[in-house]
């Protein structure tokens, strides 16, 4: 983090901070997705919905109070966490494919609400302009980069500590066999709700600084397909059973996409990610981490 801050002082080209922000944002999103999807085995197709809840909560707070960035981020995290808890409560009793469909539906419902909500600009979107000056940073892009760096480090540390705790072992038991887990004393519903809440909250945190990043927040970019797809593809390609996987996936895919968007269209981009994902699911279901482990032995 110190190196990240130093970079904000000495690296000249702002483009790098814009690009790094997106990669770090994907580290947070992929890590968040993995807490429910990788650890507990519940696939969430609606990540963009949680991300957008974070972004729009921040935008609403901005409209109401012009609060400091930290407050917008915390607010976005809390709101998305509550949605995660509620969605979990409604859907986590059903296993597998129903849960996946329910999360997809949730994102559609949320997007429809935003599209028809004038206060946040409806389909036209809303301007959320960041302050001009900030102490300690040359410009706002660099502050946003640094904020996302802090969020990324914090979520990875959190995921890693969960993975190694009793809670993480309980989630792994749920992923392997939910009924066997329950029969072994694991309070499966409670653990899943916890994972859904935390996962949603982290996605909300990732989305909260986004209005400032784009200045003009619109439903199309907040509820973007890229986020929903990358949230799944990055952990699955990196390796979904450990905290390292989402980080590797986010850095590789996110980095490649940042380079590629200059040359190829975003739709083609997503198509490539989709094909990669299918390839990994079929040929290397344990992702890059699994491949490396296999070579190691």
């Amino acid at each position: 983090m110190a190196a990240g801050y130093a970079a904000t002082r000495y690296v000249a080209n702002d483009y790098y901070f814009y690009a790094a922000y997106i990669v770090l944002q994907y580290v947070v999103i992929a890590t968040a997705w993995n807490i429910l999807g990788g650890y507990a085995g519940y696939v969430n197709f609606g990540s963009a919905g949680f991300y957008a809840v974070g972004a729009y909560t921040a935008a609403i707070l901005y409209q109401l109070f012009r609060p400091p960035l930290v407050a917008m981020i915390v607010g976005g995290g809390i709101a998305a966490g509550i949605i995660g808890l509620a969605a979990g409560y409604l859907t986590l009793r059903v296993k597998g494919v129903y849960f996946a469909i329910a999360t997809l539906a949730l994102a559609v419902v949320l997007e429809t609400i935003v599209n028809n909500w004038d206060y946040v600009g409806g389909t036209r979107g809303i301007y959320v302009l960041h302050p001009h000056q900030v102490a300690g940073f040359a410009n706002y892009a660099r502050l946003l980069f640094f904020a996302m760096l802090v969020l990324a480090v914090a979520s990875v540390v959190l995921a890693r500590s969960i993975e190694r705790s009793r809670l993480g072992r309980g989630l792994a038991a749920i992923r392997d066999d939910e009924q066997a887990a329950e029969s072994a004393g694991v309070p499966t519903l409670r653990l899943k709700l916890f994972a859904a809440t935390l996962s949603g909250a982290l996605m909300g945190l990732a989305g909260a600084p986004f209005p400032y990043y784009v200045s003009h927040l619109e439903p199309g970019s907040a509820f973007s397909l890229a986020i929903a797809v990358n949230a799944i593809a990055m952990p699955m390609i990196g390796g979904a059973t450990s905290w390292v996987g989402p980080v590797i996936g986010a850095v590789l895919l996110g980095g490649a996409q940042q380079i590629a968007t200059v040359t190829i269209s975003s739709i083609l981009n997503l198509l490539i990610v989709g094909l990669l994902l299918i390839g990994f699911v079929i040929f290397a279901p344990e992702g890059i981490v699994g491949l490396i482990r296999r070579l190691w032995r």
Partner: protein, 234 residues
């Protein structure tokens, strides 16, 4: 007589229009070895699921250690001391044997569990670091049992742990179960194979088509006309 450890009263379980259990009642005393037998499809596993909490009966009540547990989720029952094995082994596949036992140890046991000693007792010591995918059928059955025991239960429900095993392996399994019972654990043995149950059990309950048709000492069960009919399909 003292109060039974487990008491099942008038249990009825339906799957859609199909009635898998009809008005089944039974009781087990603390420290007892009870066998439940019945032909395939008699409702034995359904009974296990209703006792352990994975299924909710449409009618009837389940009492354990004096408390009504009918409405409790399965994990609470595990914590109270009910452990079960699955007929078709359901290990945690991404975990080593040791890690498999750590789940009930961390989540259900009220006293410390010595997972290594348990694995050694069941002859799985050398495999403690292996993944379940590398085990043989009998080893998987033993893992089921070891995982159930890692919860430090008061009652163990063994759902067909002998099925498909050789004579020697059945003897081995029976020795383990008898030793457990000696140490004070109540055992409910669900079996399709008559011979093993008759040897093991102090009392036997017979299920047929979801109904209890007999309940008594092994010798009496063997002499029972209705049981013979159920088994021979006459």
């Amino acid at each position: 007589m003292t109060e039974p450890l487990l008491c099942v009263e008038n249990l009825t379980k339906r799957f859609g229009g199909f009635v898998a259990l009809t008005d089944v009642s039974l009781a087990i005393a603390e420290g007892e070895r009870l066998g439940v037998i019945g032909p395939n499809g008699a409702g034995k596993s359904t009974l296990v699921n209703c006792i352990s909490g994975l299924l909710r009966p449409e009618a009837g009540r389940v009492y354990f250690a004096g408390g009504d547990i009918t409405a409790l989720p399965a994990y609470r029952r595990a914590r109270l001391g009910i452990a079960r094995s699955f007929q078709i082994p359901r290990p945690f596949r991404s975990m080593t044997l040791e890690q498999n036992l750590a789940i009930p140890r961390d989540y259900a046991a009220r006293e410390p569990t010595d997972a290594d000693a348990l694995l050694a007792q069941l002859g799985l010591g050398p495999k403690r670091g292996a993944l379940p995918g590398t085990l043989t059928q009998i080893e998987l059955r033993k893992l089921e049992l070891a995982r159930a025991l890692a919860a430090r239960p008061r009652l163990v429900i063994a759902d067909e742990v002998m099925a498909g095993l050789s004579h020697a392996e059945i003897d081995e399994m029976l020795t383990v179960l008898l030793a457990l019972n000696k140490s004070g654990i109540t055992i409910l043995m669900i079996e399709h194979i008559m011979r093993a149950v008759m040897r093991f059990s102090q009392r036997v309950v017979v299920l047929d088509a979801g109904r209890k048709i007999a309940d008594g000492a092994p010798a009496d069960i063997l002499a029972d006309k209705e049981v013979e009919r159920a088994y021979l399909g006459a």
